[in-house]
Amino acid sequence: MSRKQGRLKARFEYLAAEGRAGLVTFLTAGDPNREISSTIIKGLPGAGADIIELGMPFTDPMADGPAIQASSIRALDAGQDINATLAMVKSFREKDDDTPIVLMGYYNPIYIYGVERFSEDAANAGVDGLIIVDIPPEEDAELRVPANKAGIDLVRLTTPTSDEQRLPTLMGGASGFIYYVSIAGITGTKSAATSNVADAVTRIRKFSDLPIAVGFGIKTPEQAAEIARVADAAVVGSAIVQIIAENMGDDGRTKDSPDLRETVLKFVSELAQGVRTARS
């Protein structure tokens, strides 16, 4: 095991010391193909991403809106699977052993891969956390136990529907950080009012000392900055993925791959700027 322990913990401690929130950037692994996706991901820390969230594409992404649905299809059509995603993480780790990587996805591909084998292979590749959308606490022990054993955090999701009765259930067994889904809805659609997010963060803090990242509906540097004033991290996904969609040619290939990488990273640096100056 060459894995360095606690990248997520170290990163949130570093951010706290800096007195700022972090930027979590989401991309679907393998979108629009393995090669371009890999070069974009390697450029994310330089552009200002503090934590990388990588989507494992699934045919039936029930919690995702049109942008991430389309990105999943692009990745799957390009042949992305779990092995390819873990290989991308491994390749990233050759140059960067500090930036935390969290895999996001749906349970079935992991279940079919085998939860224990997946946990070990993901840990060995350099994965730090998992966000699995369709496995609530009532069902997640079969993944959480082997993942934690391999040193991977299973990030729990809280939502606007998580009341004070539900929150203790969600916090039991939580590790890494808490992901607050700021709207009742799917990714890339509505945006929450910052005051509602602030209230939710206050409510969650009553039940957990873990850092709180907020996602869903954050599309601009300004919105990211607003969230960065009230939470420990802001997650941006659909808005980044949409840039890839807009740079696809009619033939399903990218118009110009170096350009695509630069366009994505430029947007990420704008988001990072928003997050970094939010509290100053």
Binding site: N108, S162, A184, G185
Partner: protein, 408 residues
């Protein structure tokens, strides 16, 4: 985890457990946003079950609006033609709206009203569940949105129009294979976005707990009536039961009351499409493996990376890559025999039944009929076989015409 070696239990009627598990199957695999809602549906359903007034109201609508009990009919000419078992049809195609689906939508709309919900969503494949949902929404003056794959909209035009006449909004779903699975994804996306006022009427005995149990309980009246009707007609229980299976609501509805009657042999007929060997089919139990989709763990058609593969069936109602979790458990335990029938076999049975009995069956039960056609000739004349005629075929005449090369 022993998937294929479930021990024979003393009774098949104690599940699911309190978390909705049938052995390793079932459960609640939904986005966290939906969990409080799913738990409140479960609580409301438990309270409704314990309330005699709820059952009394449902019974009243089933009798006077749906038209229950549906007849148990001895299909003499088909029995003679096949030259074996004495074949009975459970005539659930005679229910209001033409299928068994309304048994469930009537129960769930009463629950939604009890919960104070005002907006109803549903997914549909063949359109039978969509029509049954639109019907009860019209009856109670509730807003109704039905998600339906574009492919299915094209092949089930009469039902699409019926839903619109009933006041429902039919939303075409273009993602994925644009069939039932994708309609269910879209309905779940709607629900997660409208948690406050919306109730999701799932049409089959699948999805997150409590749906598989609740839908089964609303459909088990089919088997309960068969037991009484067969006792009245023959003075004994049937020897075998046959039903088609997509998600499995008509099948579990017929089977459930007989699960602990060991002498009753049970067959569920999956859609084998163009043949299991071609890969173009919807036979989750014959050719799939356990996985997690749409809120439950169950057998699914999928590839080696756990990606869901597209199902194929001439019948829109069976065109789904999964199956209800209780069926997965009954499959592993060996209590129910799951067998395939192809598109061509179903088409042939469709015509045979129409010509011999004057009953135009839906393409879904035509799969069950196809298996009856194989099974009945091997059985003695005193063997009592009951097949669930779960839907009528008016909606399918365009599809059948096309398959037979007839231009209407």
């Amino acid at each position: 985890m022993t998937i294929n070696s479930a021990e024979k239990p003393n009774t098949f009627k104690t599940l699911p457990d309190s978390n909705g598990h049938f052995g390793i199957y079932g459960g609640r695999y939904v986005a966290e946003t939906l969990m409080p809602l799913i738990l409140s549906v479960e609580k409301a359903y438990d309270e409704a079950q314990a309330d005699p007034a709820f059952q009394a109201e449902l019974d009243d609508y089933l009798t006077h609006y749906v038209g229950r009990p549906s007849p148990l009919y001895h299909a003499r000419r088909l029995s003679d033609h096949l030259g074996g078992a004495k074949i009975y049809f459970k005539r659930d195609e005679l229910n209001h709206t033409g299928a068994h689906k309304i048994n469930n939508t009537m129960g769930q709309i009463l629950l939604a009203r009890r919960m104070g919900k005002e907006r109803i969503i549903a997914e549909t494949g063949a359109g039978q569940h969509g029509v049954a949902t639109a019907t009860v929404c019209a009856l109670f003056g509730m807003k109704c949105i039905v998600y339906m794959g574009e492919t299915d909209i094209a092949r089930q035009a009469p039902n699409v129009f019926r839903m619109k006449l009933l006041g429902a909004e039919v939303v075409p779903v273009t993602s994925g294979s644009a069939t039932l699975k994708d309609a269910m994804n879209e309905a779940l996306r709607d629900w997660v976005s409208n948690v406050d006022d919306t109730y999701y009427i799932i049409g089959t005995a699948a999805g997150p707990h409590p749906y598989p149990e609740m839908v089964r309980n609303f459909q088990k009246i089919i088997g309960e009536e068969v037991r009484q009707q067969m006792m009245a007609a023959e003075g004994r229980l049937p020897d075998s039961l046959v039903a088609c299976i997509g998600g499995g609501s008509n099948a579990i509805g017929l089977f459930y009351d007989f699960l602990d009657d060991e002498d009753v042999t049970i067959y569920a007929v999956e859609a084998a499409g163009k043949g299991i060997e071609t890969g173009e089919h919807a036979a989750s139990l014959s050719a799939g493996k356990p996985g997690v989709l749409h809120g439950n763990r169950t057998y699914l058609l999928q590839d080696e990376d756990g990606q869901i593969t597209e199902a194929h069936s001439i019948s829109a109602g069976l065109d789904y890559p999964g199956i209800g979790p209780e069926h997965s458990w009954l499959h592993d335990s060996g209590r129910v025999n799951y067998v395939p029938a192809t598109d061509d076999e179903a088409l042939e049975a469709f015509q045979l039944c129409t010509q011999l009995e004057g009953i135009i069956p839906a393409l879904e039960p035509s799969h069950a009929l196809a298996y009856v056609g194989k099974l009945a000739p091997t059985l003695p004349k005193d063997h009592l076989l009951v097949m669930n005629m779960c839907g009528r075929g008016d909606k399918d005449v365009f599809t059948v015409a096309e398959a037979l090369g007839v231009t209407l």
